[in-house]
C-alpha cells in the first residue's frame, strides 16, 4: 500500500447516488463501458459472465400489485477502505500478487491488469460482486477499435477488472492542475463518466473529506446509507432514498 502523500490532506473520493432520482435508464452503464473500454460478447445472455463495472440492480418491495414499488440501484465498485479507512479492503488484503492496491492519497482501489494473474481470490472476497473476470480475450466489432479510449488500457483474458472511479480522469485532471499552477484538483475537474452521463443528476461524485464538495453534504443526509454497512467494509459509495424498504434492503437490517 502506498504511503499517504505529504502534499495537503488526503482525499477520499466517493459517490452519493440518489435512488429516488434514478430512472433506471442505464446511461451510466453505457457511459462506463464506452469510457473504460469494457469488452462485450456477441451473446450476452449469461449475465454471470458479462462485465459490467457499473451494474444496475432492479429492486422491489416484494409486495403484490398494486402495492409493488420498484427502485433501480446502480452499483459501481465501492472502493472500500476497511475499518478505520486504513486500506484493509476485502479484496486488497487478499490479493497474493499485490495486483490491487488501496491508494491512501485518493481512497481509490486500483487494479493492475498486467500484475494480476487471475487467481480470482479478490472476487471471492468481494461481497458486492463488483469484480469481473475476463473469461475471453476482448473482441471488438470491426472498426470499433478506432473508437476505444486511448487513456484506458484494454484488458487481456485471464485477469480481473473493476470500476476504477475513472482514475485516468483523475490523472489527467491532476496533470492539468499542475500545469495551470493550481495546487488542487477542483470538484468539476475530476468527475466520473457515469456521473456526467446520468440525465437525472442522480449520481454525485467528489471528495468525501472536502466540505466544499457536494458529496460531503449529501452523505450526511438522514436518508443516506451504504450497502452492507454491517460488514465493516467501509464503502465510499453512499445511497439516498426516502423509501424505508430501500434503505432496509441495502443492508441486512434485522432489528
Amino acid at each position: 500500500m502506498s504511503e499517504a502523500s505529504n502534499h495537503g490532506a488526503s482525499k477520499m473520493y466517493g459517490m452519493v447516488i440518489d435512488l429516488d432520482k434514478c430512472t433506471g435508464c442505464g446511461a451510466c452503464m453505457v457511459a462506463c463501458m464506452a469510457e473504460n473500454n469494457v469488452p462485450f460478447k456477441e451473446d450476452e445472455s449469461d449475465k454471470l459472465k458479462s462485465i459490467t463495472w457499473l451494474r444496475l440492480y432492479k429492486l422491489n418491495n416484494g409486495k403484490p400489485f398494486p402495492d409493488v414499488q420498484i427502485c433501480y440501484l446502480p452499483r459501481p465498485c465501492m472502493h472500500c477502505g476497511g475499518e478505520g479507512n486504513h486500506g484493509h479492503s476485502p479484496c486488497v488484503s487478499v490479493c497474493p500478487a499485490t495486483a490491487t492496491d488501496y491508494d491512501l492519497e485518493t481512497g481509490i482501489v486500483s487494479q493492475i491488469y498486467t500484475r494480476c494473474f487471475g487467481c480470482r481470490y479478490c472476487m471471492a472476497a468481494c461481497p458486492y460482486h463488483a469484480r469481473y473476470f475476463n473469461w475471453w480475450d476482448p473482441v471488438w466489432p470491426e472498426g470499433m477499435e478506432r473508437y476505444l479510449n486511448p487513456n484506458v488500457s484494454v484488458r487481456m483474458r485471464g485477469v480481473v477488472e473493476k470500476c476504477s472511479f475513472c482514475y485516468h480522469r483523475y490523472q489527467i485532471a491532476k496533470n492539468n492542475a499542475y500545469n495551470n499552477g493550481s495546487r488542487e484538483v477542483l470538484e468539476h475537474e475530476y468527475q466520473t463518466a457515469c456521473t456526467q452521463a446520468c440525465p437525472a443528476g442522480s449520481i454525485t461524485f467528489g471528495d468525501l473529506n472536502n466540505p466544499k464538495h457536494e458529496v460531503y453534504k449529501l452523505k450526511q443526509n438522514k436518508n443516506a446509507f451504504r450497502l452492507l454497512e454491517k460488514l465493516k467494509t467501509n464503502p465510499k459509495v453512499y445511497y439516498i432514498s426516502k423509501l424505508e424498504w430501500v434503505r432496509k434492503l441495502g443492508d441486512n437490517y434485522r432489528s
Binding site: 454471470l48 499485490t98 500484475r115 487471475g118 481470490y121 475471453w136 452492507l228
Partner: protein, 413 residues
Amino acid sequence: MDSLDRAFIPSGAKRCSLFQFTSFISVIGIVFLWGVYAMLLIWIKGLNQTNMNDAYGFALWIWADLAVIALGGGAFFTGLLRYVIGKDELKNIINYAVIIGFICYSSALLILAIDIGQPLRGWFIFWHANVHSMLTEVAFCLSCYFIVLTIEYLPLIFENPQIDKIPFYHKLSHNMHDVMAIFAATGAFLSFFHQGSLGGVSGVMYGRPFAYREGIFIWPWTFFLFTWSAAACGPCFTIALTKLIEKITKKKLVKDNVIDLLAKISGWMLASYTIAKIIDTIYWVYSTLPPQGHKFMDFYSNNSFYGLWILILEVVIGGAVPAFILVSEKLRCNKSYLTIAVILAIIGVSVNRWVMVVQALAIPVLPFESWTFYIPSWQEVATTILPVAYGVILIALSYRYLPIFPQEKELNN
C-alpha cells in the same frame, strides 16, 4: 523384456506379470490422457472452457486443491510422529504416506497452475508477494513442502535394486535417511502453516459472513481447524489407500499393529477436532453472525441444495461417527468398522473443504441477490480426475519397482 523388468523389481518381492501390469497402466493411461487433453484445452483456450463465472470465482478446482492437501496431510503428520515424536512402528507405513503426500501435493500444484487465468504469470505470487495474503502463504509453504516431500521420496527411489548398485546413490540414500528428522521437522513446520493458511483463505474473507471467522492475532479460527482436520484425516486417507492396495495386490503389506496405532492417533485427533469444530460453529452462530446482520438459517434455507443436511454430513457423519469408531479399540480392530470410519472421515474433511469455498460463494450476501449454483464443465471434471489417474500410475510404478513396504517380505513368505 521380462528379464529387464525383473531386474528392477526389489529382490524377494512377488509382482504380477509385465503384461498384466502394462495393461493396467494402459487403461489408467487413457483416463490420464483425457485429463491432459482437457488441461491443454484450458491452457490454450482459457478459463472460458470451465463453467465458472463471476459469482463462482472459486469452484471445483479449489475444492479439489483443498481436499487433496488435507488428505495429503497424512505425510506430514505421520512424518512428525515417526521422526520427531519417535513412534518407531510407523516406519512401516511412512514410505507409502510420503508417496501419497507427494502425489497429493504435486496434484495440488498442477491444479493451481490450471486454475489461474494467466498461467505464465504464476510466478508473480512469489516475486510480487503480498505478505498479508493467505494465498501467498499457501503458495510459499506448499512449494517448499513439495520440495521436502521430493526429498523424502528420493531415497526410496534410490533403493530400487538397479539404482542402488550405483555407489553414489546408495550412499546418498543412506545419508538422506540420517538427516531425515530435520527434513521431517521442517516439513511439519511448513505444513502447519500452509494447511492453516488454506483455512485462512476463507476465514479472512470478512465480506463473506458464511466463511468469515474471528480468531487470534492474524489467524482466523479456520486456520487452526484446517491444520487440525488435515492431521486427523490425512492418516485416515493413508490407511484407506493401504487397505485398497492390499485388496488390489491380494497381499498383506502392513501389520495390523501399525495400522491400529495410526488409526488410534487419528481417532483422538478427529474427536478433538470435531469438538473444536462444534465449539467454533456455536461461537460463530451466536457471536460472530448477529453483528453482521445474519442468521444461521440464512445459509441453509431458501435454496434447492444447501440445507442442514450438509452440516450434519460434515460434523456428525464425517466427524463424530468416525471419531467414535476410531477411538474405541474394540470397534477399530474390526476391519469393516475401520474401513467405514476412514471413509467417513475422508468424506467429512472433503465436505468441510467444499462448504468453506463453494457453499460460501453460493450464498447471497447482498440482501437483494439470490443463491447461485454451478455445475462443472467436463473439462473441469477431467482435469480433476487427471491427478487421480496420475496418482494411480505413480503408486503402481512405485509399488512394482520400489521397496515401499518394509514388512511385505515377512508377511508374504
